[in-house]
């Protein structure tokens, strides 16, 4: 009975959030699929990772917030740490006009251990209602969106004891638990949508 009530309240919560954009990503719903090229030109499909947890990181090498995290290794450290537990980390660059060469330069400059996908038409950003770089999404093994929002609680980069929402969610999922904080407000530069 309790789990049904929880399930029902999650559905209601999911219905009331992100309700501004119908037919788009919503917590508790299947994550929108996509097929994008990575920085080497190889096609990457979300469906390639069926049965695995996937982290999406909206990325723009021209944004100082992306750069701050790239330099301090926030995302790289998590990507490396959770790779061993079968978690896939994908960067997505939806900046209008950003091509594979731009993403190749960024991967090299920051020694990224994950690919950066080319979404320069901003279609996937639109499907996920991505607002900022970074904007983080976690997809569970069943393909449902279970987290959307900020990487952590430290938007200005000065906090001593910030909560890393992505690490917390991944730990909960790996322990077979539900994500306790499914949605937070993302921070960073605006995603530079194609008009």
């Amino acid at each position: 009975m309790q789990s049904f009530a929880l399930f029902a309240s999650l559905i209601i919560a999911a219905a009331s959030t992100m309700s501004f954009a119908a037919d788009k990503a919503a917590i508790g719903q299947p994550a929108p699929g996509f097929s994008l090229q990575d920085q080497t030109g190889k096609t990457v499909n979300l469906s390639d990772f069926k049965g695995q947890m996937v982290v999406l990181e909206w990325f723009n090498p021209g944004c100082p917030v992306t750069v701050r995290h790239a330099k301090s290794g926030t995302m790289k450290d998590l990507a490396g740490k959770y790779k061993g537990q079968g978690v896939v980390w994908l960067g997505i660059n939806s900046t209008a006009g950003a091509d594979n060469a731009t993403n190749q330069k960024a991967v090299a400059k920051f020694s990224l251990n994950y690919p950066v996908l080319n979404d320069s038409t901003s279609k996937v950003a639109k499907a996920y209602s991505a607002k900022t770089t970074p904007h983080m999404y976690i997809i569970d093994k069943s393909g449902s969106l279970v987290y959307a929002g900020a990487i952590d609680s430290d938007s200005s980069g000065g906090k001593a004891d910030a909560t890393n929402y992505v690490a917390k969610a991944l730990d909960e999922l790996l322990a077979g638990k539900a994500v306790s904080t499914p949605e937070t407000k993302a921070y960073g530069c605006a995603v530079k949508y194609a008009d």
């Binding site: 919560a13 501004f20 994500v179 949605e183 530069c189």
Partner: protein, 286 residues
């Protein structure tokens, strides 16, 4: 594997240097005060005056869908206290993808009231310090910061306050800080309808006299709420604004109200604002 050539490294260094120079041209900040001399225990107003390159903007205390709020941290001598920052009414910036941010273009003066201690040495100099940090954006965003100082002499305790050359500028921007919509000095009447759930709200803004132009809504939602789909429907005197508020997934509503700032241009062509606390739930039944 990208071959790192000297040319590549040089290009990176040059572009970094070019960016640093450009950064200084984008935002300049200085600290000003409305008085020329400090008097013991007499509060005065300090302003952080930002001059922003045209087309670029810095952010309001709630930046909106993206961006970073401008921050000012004061470092004052012993016995001096600063009020919280007073933010003039911002403007809304719309970006592709339906993103909406709040901030300032061209110039803004952020204000605070400083209260000196009761005992000060006549003729001494007092140095006030502040550290301003911001994100300035146009097509790209650049972070910036500046350490500011202002040194003022201590004046006669019982003399009339000496206004500085910046008093007019400070007062001009003080007039743009939103006032409580319910206060007698509010030039408008505001009526609010709606509750959460379902989260659909209507705000009716009417002037007490004449008419208003360019009415805008700038919300200050807590972390648990998003506010969107803001639509302004102007009428001959004022406007009706509708918006939607919803809880983030898994979040609990802790706040009974959400503050919103309503900006408008008054008949004297001055940009002004009011702040309204929008109740989120109807009164509980006894």
């Amino acid at each position: 594997m990208v071959r790192i050539t000297t040319g590549f490294i040089l290009a990176l260094c040059l572009s970094a240097a070019a960016l640093a120079q450009e950064d200084r041209d984008l935002v300049q900040a200085r600290m000003i005060a409305d008085i020329a001399a400090i008097q013991p225990a007499q509060p005065f107003t300090v302003g952080i005056h930002f001059t922003i390159k045209p087309d670029w903007h810095v952010y309001w205390k709630h930046s909106g869908d993206s961006g970073m709020p401008t921050s000012v941290k004061f470092n004052l001598p012993k016995g001096f206290t600063a009020s919280e920052l007073h933010w003039p009414v911002p403007r809304a910036f719309s970006q592709p993808g339906g993103l909406r941010d709040y901030g300032y273009e061209n110039a803004v003066v952020l204000l605070a009231s400083i209260t000196p201690p009761a005992t000060l040495k006549l003729g001494a100099n007092v140095t006030l310090e502040a550290h301003a940090e911001w994100l300035v954006c146009h097509k790209v965003c650049l972070p910036g910061d500046q350490k500011l100082t202002l040194t003022l002499p201590v004046g006669q305790p019982d003399a009339a306050p000496q206004q500085s050359e910046f008093a007019e500028l400070v007062n001009e921007w003080l007039a743009r800080v939103p006032v409580d919509a319910k206060s007698p000095s509010s030039p408008v009447k505001v009526e609010v309808h709606g509750q959460l759930p379902p989260g659909e709200f209507k705000v009716i803004v009417q002037p007490k006299r004449d008419f208003l132009r360019d009415v805008a809504l700038c919300p200050l939602p807590p972390d648990s709420l998003t506010v969107g789909q803001i639509e302004v429907h102007p009428d001959p005197a004022g406007a009706t604004i509708t918006f939607k508020a919803s809880l983030l997934a898994g979040a609990k509503l802790k706040e009974p109200t959400i503050p919103i700032v309503i900006g408008f241009t008054d008949p004297a062509d001055q940009r002004r604002g009011v702040v309204v606390n929008v109740p989120l739930r109807s009164e509980p039944k006894p």
